[in-house]
């Protein structure tokens, strides 16, 4: 596997946010982070709140420009819009265009990818069935519940049949049933041979679906590896490993 070209490559990434007030030091959200994700993997990007997971993803999507270092998707620098041609992205929390219907939103995104309208229609029907929204697809989104909106989000992330999915905390704020559905979809994508890069702090679900994980804390990469290797080498379950790494006394937690 290691001979393969990585699908996602981050090299010595550093991101600083400008200070809120004059005189303060800039806030360093990510420090010297290097990471590789290979085709076909489900990669868990773990860390407590404020660790820098969203910031890293923002760099990958070109929302935030790195202070130092570089990032590549499919070998293309993320500065180029074309790097995003084959990815799907689900933001941490999103609201979609309230005045459009689910169908219209998906068609809009399909056009941004340059899909033909026949192809777009085919995919839209399939995706709406996948996320179980086919019954509500003609209502404007302002009448949707939070869970339904999240499912629209998932559908739009898949509209271009992406090779790499970047999901920022896809299960946060969902009820147990919703989480299970998301896990199912990730599993399904994995079976289809897609690469999934997702962030989370819910360790239980990570353990079941991930091939590899990375744990970041305060902007720094602490550990990276296959789930079973980490568990073996630390002689503990993933949750204990995680807590130990972020400096929480595991004796208490255990």
């Amino acid at each position: 596997m290691w001979g393969v070209e990585p699908i996602l490559r981050i090299e010595h990434l550093r991101v600083e946010y400008p200070p809120n007030r004059r005189g303060e030091l800039p806030k360093v959200a990510v420090k010297d982070l290097s990471l590789r994700v290979y085709p076909g993997e489900v990669f868990g990007f773990l860390g407590p709140n404020g660790a820098g997971k969203t910031t890293t993803m923002n760099v990958l999507l070109g929302f935030v420009h790195p202070t130092g270092g570089e990032a590549f998707l499919f070998g293309v620098n993320v500065k180029e819009p074309i790097a995003r041609q084959r990815i799907g992205y689900l933001p941490e929390m999103t609201y979609y265009y309230r005045f459009l219907t689910a169908e219209e939103i998906l068609r809009f995104y399909a056009r941004l990818f340059g899909l033909s309208s026949v192809e777009a229609d085919r995919r839209i029907q399939r995706l709406l069935k996948l996320v179980e929204l086919d019954h509500a697809c003609r209502r404007p989104l302002k009448h949707y519940s939070k869970g339904m909106q999240q499912r629209v989000g998932l559908a739009q992330a898949l509209i271009n049949d992406p090779d790499l999915l970047i999901l920022d905390e896809p299960t946060s704020g969902l009820d147990p049933l919703g989480r299970m559905k998301v896990r199912e979809i990730i599993q399904r994508l994995k079976n289809e041979g897609k690469t999934v890069f997702f962030s989370s702090h819910e360790l239980g679900e990570v353990e079941t679906v991930c091939d590899r994980v990375a744990i970041v804390h305060q902007g720094e990469l602490k550990v990276e590896g296959r789930v079973e290797e980490l568990v073996r080498s630390h002689q503990a379950n993933l949750e204990q490993v995680f807590l130990r790494i972020i400096g929480y006394p595991t004796s208490l937690a255990a």
Binding site: Y17, T54, T55, N58, L61, G62, F63, V64, H65, P81, I82, A83, R84, Q85, I87, Y89, L90, P91, E92, M93, T94, Y95, Y96, Y97, R98, F99, L100, E104, F108, Y109, R111, L112, F113, G114, P140, G153, Q156, A157, N160, I166, D168
Partner: protein
């Protein structure tokens, strides 16, 4: 370009699903028709004041629609966080600016066409039809002017974070230009020294939106505008629109957007 048109489609859809346009149109139509039904003096033909009032309402409505819609676009995308899934697609920020501009401009153009259609129809029913040629010229020039206004408001939306502040400033600037810009050279001429020179500079730098206002010609049944001047005015608007859009793209290109 296909991606720009996709963005444009969303903006147009948004405009016709919101109530603003309908409300403004109904208000304009209502006031016009009510005024038309008033007899100030018996059996005398009076249509020009009606044209004046209708055109004034059209100008105000179009300005409100253009500025408010344009000023809202990018801030609303950020506020509702739709900007993230949008920019995660293979669109450049330049395309987003361009798509938003085209969308707002086309949408206001549609609204404007409805307004001018109404204007010409009322004129016909009043038995005092305006020249359709001049009517078309007035519409076209008005629309060109709105291109400058829309691009200005989009640029403003990247400079000022609050859309209300931006809209208010845009209204003040546009109204100021419409009322004063054409006279700045005279004022500058009467002012000696540095201030005069500065005003003269401003006179040449400002987009002269008042050029596009041919309401007086329309109201008082003057002949249409010469096509040469008409074309030059179109080019003039295009230059300023391009400048504003480039500035907007420049600002937006580097802007960090964090979730």
């Amino acid at each position: 370009m296909k991606r720009c048109m996709a963005l444009t489609g969303v903006v147009i859809r948004e405009l016709y699903r919101r109530k603003d346009f309908y409300v403004l149109f109904v208000l304009t139509a209502l006031i016009t028709l009510l005024l038309a039904s008033i007899q100030f003096f018996e059996d005398l033909r009076m249509v020009r004041y009606l044209r004046e009032v209708t055109l004034l309402l059209i100008w105000i409505s179009a300005l409100v629609i253009a500025v408010v819609t344009a000023a809202r676009q990018i801030p609303a995308e950020r506020e509702s966080r739709t900007i993230f899934p949008l920019l995660a697609k293979p669109v450049s920020r330049g395309e987003v600016v361009m798509g938003k501009f085209l969308g707002v401009w086309l949408a206001t153009g549609l609204a404007l066409a409805v307004f001018y259609g109404f204007y010409l129809l009322v004129g016909t029913f009043q038995g005092a039809p305006s020249s359709w040629l001049l009517g078309f010229q007035a519409f076209w020039l008005h629309w060109m002017m709105l291109a400058v206004v829309v691009s200005m408001a989009i640029l403003g939306s990247l400079l000022f974070s609050a859309p209300s502040v931006n809209s208010t400033l845009c209204f003040i600037v546009v109204t100021g230009i419409l009322l004063l810009a054409g006279h700045l050279n005279i004022i500058a001429g009467s002012m000696p020294g540095l201030w005069g020179a500065l005003l003269y500079g401003l006179y040449f730098a400002l987009p002269h939106l008042e050029l596009f206002d041919v309401r007086d010609l329309l109201i008082h049944e003057h002949p249409p505008v010469a096509w040469g001047a008409f074309a030059v005015a179109g080019l003039y608007a295009a230059v300023y629109t391009t400048l504003f859009l480039i500035a907007a793209w420049w600002l937006f290109r580097k802007k960090p957007l964090s979730t």
